[in-house]
Every structure is written in structure tokens, then in C-alpha cells.
């Protein structure tokens, strides 16, 4: 959103440099130049207003809420029984000491460790395969792989939930028919695999398209040169294609990390189906529980701020690492 107006302001500042000679400058009347200087800000106004109304103010309000709490007096019924009071960092201390929230973060990471490598690995392999000249019926395959992404997450989760339930699942029907062991997909570690499966099914297509688009942007003469030098298709994929689409891989990786920390739909949809899933299984579920079930917006705000900060720190650290890695690569 912000990148377009920035480019605009760049172009304006190029103006004075371009008309280098001093004489031309003095001839120009000053008024249009001044209005030219304010123009970029006018272009920025809609973005800034929307940004303030829908991001800065709500986030600021959440931070403000996170520093308060409700103090109940006596029996706590009727008028004046509740008072909003300053709580400093009390809510934050509670969040950091809350072992349930800590566990939910660990669970999200565990889930991410399964989802991210599998999903991005598959997306990369599919994109590379679709990009080989020998690929047959590529448009159909591309659409078929992408299609699950078009299914809303909640529907995907409910559908898979149905397939995981032994009593109603056609898979279990087949397992029973052939007397094969019937795993409990809602039990302990299997739960992670069950969620990861839904995420991989739904997310691979999107990441594949991102990587595939980057692959299509590579000029074909590079391949020609490589082939003349005797490179096989595999060599081209490993030594040319993957390094060139690295930025896209990094991008999809960031999206995936953030999505992992925000995992909500799958566990929320599957929760009613099983005894094995706690109300605070993932960090967002814990926030949902305090904000929308327990009506504690104060604690929920503090948890949300902690989660957002953690996501920022994680993203920037990873970005730093990947930056250093690519720079060394270049050297």
C-alpha cells in the first residue's frame, strides 16, 4: 500500500536534479513548484487516513486497554460495581506467567515445524515441475494444485474434520474393510499432523503460484546458456532456478511463519469433535477465549500485544539472518 506513494515522491525529487542548469531554475515560477512539493502528501492522505482509522487507532486502543483492568467491588452486582482502573504492566506479567499461553505458543511452533517445510517443499517441487518444458497439461495441473487454496479455510477444516472421525470417515471405512490399524487422528502427536495436513492441503497451491510466477520471470536465455555448457535439467533447477527464486521462497517463508503463529481456524473447527483439544490450544484461541468467551478485553489485549511483538521480533530476526546469508552468498 505504501510503496506506490513513495515511488511518487521519489519521482518528484528527481525534478530539480534533472533540470541541472542554474538558469532554467531561476526562470521557473516558484508557485507551481511549491504545489508540486505538497502534491505527494495529498496522494498520501487517503492511505494515511485509512491507516490511522483502521490500524493505528485500534492498535493504540488495544495497547491502552492492555494497561488497564476492571476492579470489582464487593458483591459486584448493579451500578458502580465495576471500575476500569490502571493496571500498569500487570496484564503483561500475567500473560508471561501464564503457562497455558506459553504452551499454546510451543504448540504453534511444533505445528509450524511440520507445516512450513512440508508446504514450502511441496510448493517448490510442484513449481519446478510445472516450469520444465516437458510438463504436460501444465495449466490443468496448476489449477488443480491451486484450487484447494480457493476453498475457505473454515470449510476445509470442517471437511477434513469429517474425514478424520472414524465413525463417518470413508478412509476409516476402507481401513476397517482391509483390517488395517485405525489411528486416532485426534490423539496427542497425531493432532499436529491432522492440522498440518489441512494447512498443507490448503496452502501449497498459493505458495506454488508465488514461486512459479518468479520462475516464469527468469529470462530463458540463461537456460540456453546453461544447456550449451552441458547442464542437465536437475542442475538447472538446483543451481539456477532455486537461487534466483530465493527471494520468493523467503517471502513465502515469512507468510508461513506468521500464519503459523496465528493458527486458529483448524483447531477451532476441530475442537468440538474431540476431547483432546483444549480451549487454549493455539495462541489466538487463548486470545479468543479471554476476549469473546470471558469478556476480558484487557487480558486479551495484553496477550494480543505480546503475540504481535513476538511476531515482529521473529520476523525481523529471520529477515536479518536471511539478509546476511544472501549477502555472503554474493561475496
Amino acid at each position: 500500500m505504501t510503496s506506490a506513494p513513495l515511488k511518487g515522491s521519489d519521482r518528484v525529487s528527481v525534478g530539480p536534479l534533472a533540470d541541472g542548469t542554474g538558469t532554467a531554475k531561476s526562470v521557473r515560477p516558484s508557485r507551481p513548484r511549491r504545489s508540486g512539493r505538497s502534491a505527494p502528501y495529498w496522494f498520501l492522505v487517503p492511505t494515511l487516513v485509512l491507516f490511522a482509522a483502521f490500524t493505528v487507532i485500534p492498535v493504540g486502543y488495544a495497547v491502552w486497554l492492555s494497561l488497564h483492568k476492571v476492579q470489582v467491588k464487593g458483591i459486584g452486582l448493579g451500578k458502580g460495581a465495576r471500575e476500569q482502573v490502571w493496571n500498569g504492566f500487570g496484564n503483561y506479567a500475567d500473560v508471561l506467567q501464564d503457562s497455558e499461553f506459553g504452551h499454546s505458543v510451543l504448540r504453534a511452533f511444533g505445528y509450524g515445524l511440520i507445516v512450513i517445510p512440508t508446504m514450502l517443499g511441496l510448493a517448490l517441487v510442484f513449481a519446478l515441475m510445472l516450469d520444465t518444458p516437458k510438463a504436460r497439461s501444465a495449466p490443468f495441473a496448476r489449477l488443480a494444485i491451486f484450487l484447494p487454496y480457493a476453498v475457505p479455510g473454515i470449510i476445509a477444516a470442517l471437511m477434513w474434520g469429517f474425514l478424520y472421525l472414524p465413525d463417518v470417515s470413508p478412509f476409516y471405512y476402507l481401513l476397517r474393510m482391509f483390517d488395517l490399524p485405525q489411528p486416532d487422528l485426534f490423539d496427542g502427536g497425531n493432532l499436529y499432523l491432522s492440522f498440518a495436513n489441512i494447512a498443507v492441503w490448503g496452502g501449497t497451491g498459493f505458495n506454488m503460484i508465488v514461486i512459479y510466477t518468479a520462475l516464469r520471470a527468469i529470462p530463458p536465455d540463461i537456460y540456453e546458456a546453461a544447456r550449451i555448457d552441458g547442464a542437465s535439467s536437475l542442475n538447472i533447477a538446483l543451481k539456477i532456478k532455486i537461487p534466483i527464486v530465493m527471494p520468493s521462497l523467503v517471502l513465502t517463508f515469512f507468510f508461513s511463519v506468521i500464519a503459523t503463529l496465528q493458527v486458529f481456524t483448524e483447531p477451532m473447527a476441530l475442537k468440538p469433535l474431540t476431547n483432546g483439544l483444549s480451549t487454549t490450544w493455539s495462541p489466538l484461541m487463548a486470545i479468543y477465549d479471554s476476549a469473546f468467551l470471558k469478556s476480558d478485553v484487557y487480558g486479551a489485549s495484553a496477550t494480543a500485544v505480546v503475540l504481535a511483538l513476538a511476531t515482529f521480533v521473529l520476523s525481523f530476526t529471520l529477515l536479518r539472518i536471511s539478509d546476511r546469508y544472501t549477502r555472503e552468498d554474493r561475496a
Binding site: 476492571v70 470489582v72 452486582l77 448493579g78 465413525d167 476431547n275 483432546g276 483444549s278 468467551l293 469478556s295
Partner: protein
């Protein structure tokens, strides 16, 4: 309605993230119209309700009372409407009329959402059973709502399968346990029923029958949390014992697998409330005419007590500029014969008003053609409902129930059932204490 409440609740819960965005906007448009009334036009009231077809009942009122117009605004149910109403109240924008579940009343009163309407509806007391009226007064002199529907607990069983396998309909919980064992022997693929960790409301009802009082207020203005009391522990041990023994199923209710079990006959009984026929019709469509309802098993032979699962009332908000008009409507919709008939017919509820529980409107449920006296029996059972005692943080207790009893049911260990109950107690108590309530433990 409790039926719909539950199903909607499940579905809408999933859209939780979306709710975040919606809360603000709908709160803004649902508020009461301050500028009407005074100018001489009709008083305009907004009514937040989740029950389907409630607007049809309001239409009857609007036709009869041109000076007071009620507009129904459809809401999510359960915890959702609760959070939304509390948020709207903070913005000074709460609707005039609110459909409120009994267990939400203390939370709403604690947030100063519900007005005391005793001076307008105090004389309605005689229209309701004592246990229902006690829930809307919270044991005080105030009245915070008019009871609308109730959900007395009953025992539903597959009459055909019970006959075929010579199973007895249990009159006591001891007999219930025996029937569960006998059923397991007679039908190795089936269970009598299941213990569901996703339905704290049912468990609460069962403990009420046993005499539990989860939240009480003493005259000195202090709450007492008694979730882990002897009565509740007895109930937890009983169900936990049967699950551990392997004679009761442990899967949650309201899942596709559970529907399948009811429909296929691998669950042959269900402890549920008066609204069960409406659930069975969609969950177990192939079993029409095969079920029968009986009173809930008792802890002591010869006793006659039941608990309740679900039910709601109509309250008036403190933000309403027309409290009297709103209270008049709340009174009418829950006690007027025509309104009660419409509530039964259009909304599909079991009315709280005693006179609504008999009469021609409540015809035999279509799903129970074999039990012509369904509602006569239901009214007799409803009259024996024990009083429920709700507190200001029911949701905290319910979440603790889901998590603790979920683990216990999965592990099939009786000891975990009782430890889950004490976790529920301590979490509820700690939460109240942290919020600043004057509170002790039983």
C-alpha cells in the same frame, strides 16, 4: 430454542475472528432511539435475540400496540451475545431488550447491563415456577428479567431397543449404571450413552439435581464458590466411574460421529432436556417413533427432582430510555396466552410460564408419535426442577470444564474427573478473586 442456540453457537464460534470486526459496527446500529418517544410518535424498542422467528412474535405485539414498536435484531447466541451486549453497554448503546440465558444473568447484572424491572413486572412472579423466578432475581428483591423458556432434564431412550434386549428404564442412577452394563453386554457395539466434555450446561444441570449450588451470595454480600462440593463430586465420580469401567462412551456430543451413533442406534439413550425432540429430528432422522421420554433417574428412590439445561429470559437494559415500555413487552411476550402460543409455534421453545406448559398449543412432538402424553409428562417433570445458582463468571468455569473433563474423558480415569472438578473450582474462585469480588470457597 436451546437447540438452535447450541448449533448456532458452534457454527458462529468458528467465525470468531470476524466477530471482532463486527462488534463495533453492530453495537452502533443496534442502540435505542433516543429521539423517538418524546416527540409523540410511537416508542421504538430494539430487541436483541438469537431465537429464530422471534420477529414473528414481535409482529403480533406491534399490531396490537401501535404506540410501542419492537424491532428484533438477530444475534449470535451464548457467549457471543453476552460479549456484544457488554461492549454495547460500554458504548452507552445497549438495546432496550435482551434475550439472556439464565447463567448469563449475574454476568450481565455485574456489568450493569440489566435494569431492575421489579416495579413493572413484580406481579408476574405467580406466572412462573419458583426455581425459574429465583434465577431472574438472583436471590435479591430486584427482578432482572422475565423467564422465557426452560430446559428441564429428562431421560430419553430407544423404546424398541430397550424392549428387544430386555433393558429396564432406570428410575435411579444405580439402575442407570446397571442398565449401562446390561446394554453393553446385550449390544457389544453400542453404549447406553456418552459423557460429553463439551457440554458443561448438561453437567451443571445434573449437579443441580444432586443439590449442588455452584455460586451463592450470603446476606453479608459475599460470594461462595461451591463447584467442588459433595453433590457435584458425587456426579463427577458417578460418570467418571462408568466411563472408566467402559460402559459409557466418552465422545463429545453434537459431532457428526455422535449424530451417527444416535441414528444407527449405537447410543440407545440420551440424558437431555425437554427440547431434545428438535435435536433428534435432525441428528437421528431414521429413528422417528422409536424414542420415548421418562423422568431423569434419581439419586434416591422415590425422590422427584430434576436439573435444567438451557433456557433464557427477557431483560431490559439500563441504557433504555423506555424501561417501562420495554418491561411491558417483556412481560407480555412471556405470559400472554397469544404470545406463548406464538413462541411455541414459531420459535419452537418450551415456555417458562406455567400456563404455557399445558394446553392445545403444545401438541405431541412429531418425532414422538408413540408418546401422546409427552408434554403432560414434561410439565410434571418441569415442576420438579431444582433451582440453579449461577455466578458472575460462568464462562470461566465452563472453559475449565471443557479442558479438564475433556482430558479426563479421553484418559477414561475416574480420578481425573474429580481432579478436573477441583481445577474448575480453583480456576473459577481465583478468577473472581482476581477481579475483586468478595468471595470465599465452600
Amino acid at each position: 430454542m436451546s437447540i438452535h442456540r447450541r448449533q448456532i453457537s458452534r457454527r458462529t464460534m468458528l467465525a470468531g475472528a470476524a466477530a471482532l470486526g463486527l462488534t463495533g459496527t453492530s453495537a452502533a446500529c443496534g442502540g435505542s432511539d433516543d429521539d423517538s418517544g418524546e416527540s409523540g410518535g410511537p416508542v421504538k424498542l430494539t430487541y436483541w435475540s438469537w431465537a429464530p422467528n422471534m420477529e414473528k412474535v414481535a409482529a403480533i405485539w406491534n399490531k396490537k400496540n401501535p404506540d410501542i414498536t419492537v424491532t428484533v435484531s438477530k444475534q449470535g447466541s451464548g457467549a457471543e451475545i453476552l460479549t456484544k451486549v457488554i461492549t454495547a453497554k460500554k458504548a452507552g448503546n445497549a438495546p432496550d431488550l435482551i434475550q439472556a440465558e439464565y447463567q448469563s444473568l449475574p454476568t450481565l447484572v455485574s456489568n450493569d447491563v440489566l435494569a431492575d424491572i421489579s416495579k413493572y413486572v413484580g406481579d408476574a412472579k405467580s406466572d412462573f415456577a419458583e426455581n425459574l423466578w429465583d434465577m431472574v432475581t438472583l436471590g435479591t428483591d430486584a427482578v432482572y428479567g422475565v423467564p422465557q423458556d426452560s430446559g428441564p432434564l429428562m431421560f430419553y431412550y430407544r423404546e424398541d431397543l430397550f424392549k428387544k434386549h430386555g433393558l429396564t428404564v432406570p428410575k435411579t442412577w444405580t439402575e442407570f449404571a446397571e442398565t449401562a452394563r446390561a446394554a453393553r453386554k446385550a449390544l457389544p457395539d453400542a453404549y447406553l450413552t456418552t459423557f460429553s466434555s463439551s457440554d458443561p450446561g448438561l453437567f451443571a444441570g445434573l449437579t443441580q439435581q444432586a443439590g449442588a449450588k455452584w455460586w451463592t451470595v450470603d446476606s453479608g454480600g459475599k460470594w461462595t464458590v461451591g463447584i467442588d462440593d459433595a453433590a457435584s463430586r458425587k456426579v463427577a465420580e458417578f460418570w467418571g466411574g462408568l466411563v472408566q469401567e467402559g460402559v459409557l462412551d466418552n465422545q463429545p456430543m453434537y459431532t457428526p460421529a455422535w449424530n451417527n451413533a444416535l441414528n444407527k442406534g449405537t447410543h440407545i439413550a440420551w440424558v437431555s432436556a425437554v427440547w431434545a425432540p428438535g435435536v433428534l429430528v435432525s441428528s437421528a432422522p431414521d429413528t422417528e417413533g422409536k424414542w420415548r421420554m421418562a423422568p431423569l433417574p434419581q439419586w434416591k428412590a422415590g425422590e422427584n427432582v430434576t436439573g435444567s439445561w438451557g433456557g433464557s429470559s427477557t431483560g431490559v437494559s439500563t441504557d433504555s430510555d423506555h424501561a417501562e415500555a420495554a418491561a411491558k413487552f417483556a412481560h407480555w411476550i412471556n405470559t400472554d396466552p397469544e404470545a406463548l402460543a406464538a413462541l411455541v409455534k414459531e420459535v419452537g421453545i418450551y415456555p417458562a410460564a406455567t400456563k404455557g406448559q399445558s394446553g392445545d398449543v403444545l401438541t405431541t412432538p412429531a418425532f414422538f408419535p408413540n408418546q401422546k402424553d409427552f408434554y403432560t409428562t414434561a410439565a410434571e417433570i418441569a415442576a420438579t426442577t431444582a433451582t440453579a445458582a449461577w455466578g458472575p463468571n460462568v464462562q470461566t468455569a465452563y472453559t475449565a470444564f471443557n479442558d479438564g473433563f475433556g482430558k479426563a474423558a479421553k484418559a477414561k480415569k475416574e480420578a481425573q474427573f474429580t481432579s478436573a472438578l477441583s481445577t474448575m473450582q480453583s480456576k473459577t474462585f481465583d478468577d473472581m478473586k482476581k477481579q475483586g469480588f468478595e468471595v470465599t470457597e465452600a
